[in-house]
């Protein structure tokens, strides 16, 4: 927008001023051009009203336009040099005796007066003119008599510059001059233009730019259309001055144009340069950055997914295949995954009594350790357990009725006794949890009260999402709380002895202002520690790299340049998974897109129609994660990448291995996952650990560090399959370290004797015996510190002993 343009226009004005005071003396016009009115001073007012009467009009100027062929004609005073003039025009056909109104206009111009007005007072009228017929153009002085320029432009009837668009491709194109008649669109109203067509071969982020050194001090304006020349064009966007190269006259503004858009392969786009500011030639570039769609989704609607809450994917029948869990007032509906991909068996389990509904969040885990997952439903007035009974054939509603304004809920073994406890973020008070006494009786505690763990004690609450993961790699679960209402997020370090220490400030994650309802937490850079993206529900995202060393957890804000700085989409729910199995963890949040991890801590968005955060799991057992959005399942379509799925069965640890660290090693490096019940804000997703391997099929080692401290190691694991891990299955019989007890003889024939370390006295109450595939083969009371195993088959087994405090211990033995 430069004022210097004004001069060019003045020079370009060709017509001179003559008397044109009456219809009879109207100046003839026979071709398009720019015409100058010095002063409106003609006295021959038109006798015929044309939208406007002669009220307040004392003078007019007359022109007689006669086209040589049929044109669409535009008469316009909407020119830069007329800025802040106030014009009005009427156009008639007929003759000076009998005139018919064709069109009239007062303020249809778009150029706003630059003295601060937002309205234009300039005129613009378009009409279809017939060859040889005379049209009288009458400007009046309704508002002012000052002179101005006006333009008459002609577009041949049926003319469409789009049809003549020159095909171009990525690279540099030279525009010799802008010299074709333009068409009026919402993108461009300039009179002249140059049209190019561009059809990318691949999906690409495309940038069209005249911001090139060769164009210095030129002034361009560009528009991009999609659609069809005849059936209609859609304006994709325009740019005037987004270039950065300043004119070296000393101006600080660039007049060059840069426009970026996402282009689809095979779609034709029209690139139109116009003479808004200049008709001079210049060069422009088209730059393509191909977008590789990392994974596509095949969407299927399952009409029987129609519960009140369809926010949970987890295995419900102990086969480690993810099932779809629906919750309604008195009904649990499970879509059990069958052997045929995409087919489900629907089972309804009636639930009696009044249950809190998971209106805020849901979690799943086997807290009664019977081999079947139980559910945790978090509402605004408290939480409810739906506990499995009778081998998963029925569920019992257990509603403790403590008032909790639940937000994120989790199953987690807070005191690491082998039994899952339940945690709930509290919206309006310090966080709460229920401790499992070892017999699935849940006892209520609130943080900050006497004898309770310190797990978020802000008096006013504001705790939106808790995520339990091991930030300092010390083998126990720390907790991150996403917060939104003012106070910063919190990181609570588990010191292992029932003490949780708030290290938010020390870790440097206590940034304010912050508004987040959930954060995406994973090892995004595959350097063996959990990084945090505080994904915003409003405002901006913050990406923190974990700089864990041997002693501390300290994070560095690496948002700048990560792709999270330019991601303006915000969301309540944000979850971290390797959706494309390329070996790098991605994030699904807001904006109908997945932020794909490119490595080097940079993320690139890829949009998918209507995709949003939902429960995640592998619903067709193909190793690619699927997403449930209501009754729609978005099946990840295998893209050739390789994968590994690890399913866990804890023995001494909690049944699901929640809190276990799963590490996999290969020529590509190391990847880690923590088993979590409840991440993001609302949804419950698979308890299986999913890894992508990219093009590699080599997994040298899988190491599972169980919450109990037991470490299982699998060497040379085959890719593209589930690895079923039973706690302790890979250990030798003497590899269990227990300061509490030993068993003998081992191997054993009939009776296992238990020797308890007198320094750590415990009383064992019950014993369970598992085979190495995790099947429980024997359950009995411990009598006289012996366990009878005479009836079980020869083989290697894991013995689990439960003490009188409900804590579990395990030991491997051989039966002969």
């Amino acid at each position: 927008m430069k004022k210097i343009t004004f001069l060019f226009f003045l020079l370009a004005v060709s017509s001179l001023t003559f008397a044109q005071n009456t219809c009879a003396t109207a100046i003839p016009i026979t071709a398009a051009g720019t015409f100058t009115i010095s002063t409106i001073d003609g006295t021959g007012l038109p006798a015929t009203t044309c939208n406007y009467t002669n009220a307040n009009v004392t003078a007019v100027e007359w022109y007689a336009y006669t086209p040589t062929q049929n044109y669409t004609v535009t008469v316009s005073s909407d020119l830069q040099e007329n800025l802040c003039r106030d014009t009005r025009v009427r156009i008639y056909t007929g003759n000076c005796t009998t005139m018919t109104c064709v069109v009239a206009d007062d303020d249809s111009g778009v150029l706003a007066c630059n003295s601060g007005n937002t309205n234009s007072y300039l005129s613009k009228a378009t009409f279809n003119a017939v060859a040889g017929q005379t049209y009288y153009i009458v400007w009046d002085n309704r508002y002012e008599s000052t002179g101005f320029n006006f333009q008459v432009s002609e577009i041949p009837a049926g003319y469409n510059p789009c049809n003549g668009a020159v095909a171009v491709s990525a690279g540099t194109t030279t525009v010799t001059a802008i010299d074709q008649t333009n068409i009026n669109t919402s993108c461009s109203t300039a009179t002249l233009s140059k049209w190019y067509s561009y059809t990318p071969a691949v999906n690409a982020n495309v940038t069209i730019t005249s911001d090139l050194a060769v164009n210095l001090c030129k002034d361009t304006n560009v528009s991009v259309y999609s659609g069809n020349c005849t059936s209609g064009l859609t304006c994709v966007g325009s740019d005037d001055n987004s270039g950065v190269l300043a004119c070296n006259f000393g101006n600080t503004n660039s007049y060059l144009s840069t426009y970026s858009f996402i282009a689809s392969a095979g779609t034709t786009y029209y690139i139109v340069w116009d003479n808004k500011w200049s008709a001079n030639g210049f060069d422009f570039q088209i730059n393509e950055t191909p977008i590789v769609i990392p994974i596509t989704y095949n969407n299927q609607t399952v009409s029987t997914i129609n519960s009140s809450y369809n926010i949970c994917i987890v295995d419900m029948n102990g086969d480690y295949k993810d099932d779809i869990v629906g919750v309604s007032g008195n009904n649990l509906r499970v879509h059990f995954q069958g052997n045929t991909p995409g087919t489900f068996t629907v089972t309804d389990f009636p639930i009696t009594g009044t249950s809190d509904m998971p209106s805020w969040s849901m979690a799943a885990g086997d807290y009664n350790k019977d081999g079947y997952n139980d559910l945790l439903l978090g509402s605004g007035s408290g939480l409810t357990f739906w506990r499995s009974a009778n081998n998963g054939t029925s569920y019992t509603n257990i509603n403790p009725s403590d008032y909790i304004f639940c937000q994120r809920t989790n199953f987690v073994d807070i005191n690491n006794d082998g039994h899952l406890d339940a945690f709930s973020c509290h919206d309006i008070a310090p966080n709460v949890y229920y401790m499992n006494d070892g017999s699935a009786n849940m006892n209520y505690y609130q943080s900050g009260t006497s004898g309770a763990y310190m797990l978020g004690v802000t008096a006013s609450g504001g705790n939106y999402a808790s995520l339990w993961t091991d930030f300092d790699n010390d083998g126990d679960l720390d907790m991150f709380i996403s917060k939104c209402s003012g106070p910063p997020c919190e990181l609570h370090r588990n010191d292992g002895n029932g003490v949780f220490t708030d290290i938010s400030a020390q870790a440097g994650i206590n940034v304010t202002p912050i508004q987040t309802w959930s954060s995406a937490i994973a090892d995004f850079d595959n350097d063996d520690d959990m990084d945090v993206i505080i994904t915003a529900s409003a405002g901006t995202h913050k990406f923190f790299r974990n700089n864990k060393d041997s002693n501390t957890v300290a994070f560095t804000n690496i948002t700048a340049g990560s792709g999270w700085d330019t991601n303006t989409a915000t969301n309540i729910d944000n979850i971290a998974y390797d959706f494309d199995n390329d070996g790098k963890v991605d994030v699904l949040g807001g904006g109908n897109k997945i932020m794909f991890n490119q490595g080097n801590n940079s993320f690139t968005p890829v949009g998918y129609n209507a995709i949003s955060v939902g429960a995640v799991g592998d619903l067709n057992n193909d190793g690619f994660l699927d997403i449930q959005n209501g009754s729609t399942i978005r099946y990840g379509v295998p893209n050739g990448n390789n994968w590994l799925k690890v399913t866990l069965q804890g023995i001494q640890s909690n049944r699901n291995g929640i809190g276990a660290r799963v590490e996999i090693y290969g020529p590509w490096g190391k990847q880690i996952r923590d088993i979590r019940s409840g991440e993001g804000f609302r949804y419950m997703s698979s308890l299986n650990a999913h890894f992508g391997l990219g093009t590699s099929t080599v997994i040298n080692q899988v190491i599972i560090k169980w919450p109990s401290g037991i470490v299982d190691t699998y060497n040379n694991v085959t890719a593209n399959q589930p690895l079923s891990a039973v706690e302790g299955a890979t250990l030798g019989i003497d590899a269990f370290e227990s300061s509490v007890f030993t068993v003998y003889p081992n191997p054993v024939k009939n009776t296992i004797n238990i020797a308890i370390n007198t320094a750590n006295p415990v009383e064992f109450v019950t014993a369970q015996v598992y085979d190495l595939s995790g099947r429980m083969v024997h359950q009995t009371q411990v009598a006289n510190q012996t366990v009878t195993v005479n009836h079980i088959a020869k083989g290697t087994y894991i013995l689990m002993l439960r003490d009188s405090n409900g804590k579990d211990y395990s030991q491997k033995f051989i039966k002969e």
Partner: protein, 376 residues
């Protein structure tokens, strides 16, 4: 209600005479003494009757001497429950005026008492008092107490854990409604009755009353024996210092049910009492852009503070049409309207204090949104 107060005051008078007659003191030198006992070392008492705020049959809520009824011009919706409010201050103490829109600073020892009841419990069409909420000003700030009435309506017992009561009642328009009435827990009391401050990086919460702003009391109230501006009454009672100018009409809230009042003022009054305790600076929801106190909705930014043409954040799970808090003349495209017109607990506003939709309030807001033509 007004009749009841008349009876109440008559009863007080009668009791006063009765006690003076039964007293052996010289009648001419006799000064009636309020029976109210608020021992700050002992409160909250286990029973409502322990305070002696009321005389005679407890359920009549007949105020004792120096227990003064009051009412805000604009009333919080609480699932159609009716309320009777009273204030009491120790003899010789009075409240301080801090501004038209500031909560009156009540003296240490003061108590405000709010009884929640329904007039027509079904099927008997009989009244039932549910709870009596009391705030007491101790030396280091306000405390909360909530007394839950027994079914016999003879006593109410301290319970700050919160509970539910399933009720069927007729509202003022004789519409029969069911409610799972929520008696709040202390944590819920705090959500609204507080303001937050940042003190050295730590959030410090201070508990406060809500309704007793001068601009909300500045109207004539029928005390039975007289009708008088409540601020005047408080001054005459010795409950309020007399060193301030009463709020001008412009700075005074109104009864939002009064259809003779200007629509916008009704809406601002409605927002003030129903929303502003959270949606104000230092309130529970001050991280959101809404600023709904009567003062904040009145200035040049008033409409922006009320959310007119303010984009909604956190659109997850919502209809994209709800992308503005208020879209002029489009209630169906206004997130605020959606939230007050639902009982889905994930979406509803207010989050606390109601489980029913306030039909009349929703209609008021709808009328107002429809009346809006432009963005601010």
């Amino acid at each position: 209600m007004k009749k009841n107060y008349l009876q109440a005051l008559l009863l007080v008078f009668t009791l006063t005479i009765f006690s003076s007659c039964s007293d052996n003191d010289d009648e001419e030198s006799y000064t009636p003494v309020s029976p109210v006992v608020v021992d700050l070392t002992q409160v909250p008492y286990p029973k409502l009757s322990d305070y002696h705020f009321f005389e005679g049959d407890l359920k009549n809520l007949t105020p004792s001497l120096n227990v003064i009824p009051y009412e805000p011009a604009s009333i919080l919706f609480s699932d159609y429950a009716h309320k009777k409010r009273f204030v009491w201050m120790p003899e010789g103490t009075k409240a301080t005026f801090n501004g038209d829109d500031k909560i009156l600073e009540l003296p240490v020892g003061a108590a405000i008492i709010k009884n929640f009841y329904y007039d027509k419990i079904q099927p008997t069409d009989t009244p039932l008092i549910i709870e009596t909420r009391i705030m007491i000003r101790k030396v280091d700030g306000w405390i909360f107490a909530d007394y839950v009435w027994n079914d016999d309506q003879t006593e109410a017992y301290l319970d700050l854990n919160g509970s539910y009561k399933q009720l069927t009642f007729k509202d003022d328009n004789n519409v029969v409604r069911n409610v799972n009435y929520r008696i709040p827990s202390e944590a819920q009391c705090i959500v609204c009755h507080k303001y937050k401050q940042d003190v050295g990086g730590q959030e410090v919460t201070t508990f406060i009353p809500i309704g007793i702003k001068p601009q909300n009391l500045n109207f004539n109230y029928n005390y039975g024996d007289e009708t008088k501006n409540q601020l005047t009454k408080w001054i005459e009672q010795g409950y309020l210092e007399n060193n301030f100018a009463f709020p001008t009409p412009e700075h005074t809230t109104i009864n939002y049910s009064d259809a003779t009042q200007p629509l916008e003022k009704r809406v601002r009054s409605y927002f003030d009492i129903n929303c502003a305790h959270c949606h104000k600076e230092t309130g529970h929801c001050d991280y959101r852009p809404l600023r709904l106190s009567f003062t904040e909705t009145g200035g040049v930014n008033g409409h922006s503070n009320m959310g007119v043409c303010v984009p909604t954040v956190d659109m997850q799970d919502f209809d994209p049409e709800l992308s503005n808090l208020i879209t002029p003349s489009k209630p169906s495209q206004s997130m605020l309207f959606f939230r007050i017109n639902t009982t889905n607990e994930s979406y509803m506003m207010p989050l606390h204090g109601r489980s029913l939709i306030h039909d009349e309030g929703v209609a008021l807001i709808e009328e107002w949104i429809n009346s809006l033509q432009n963005c601010p």
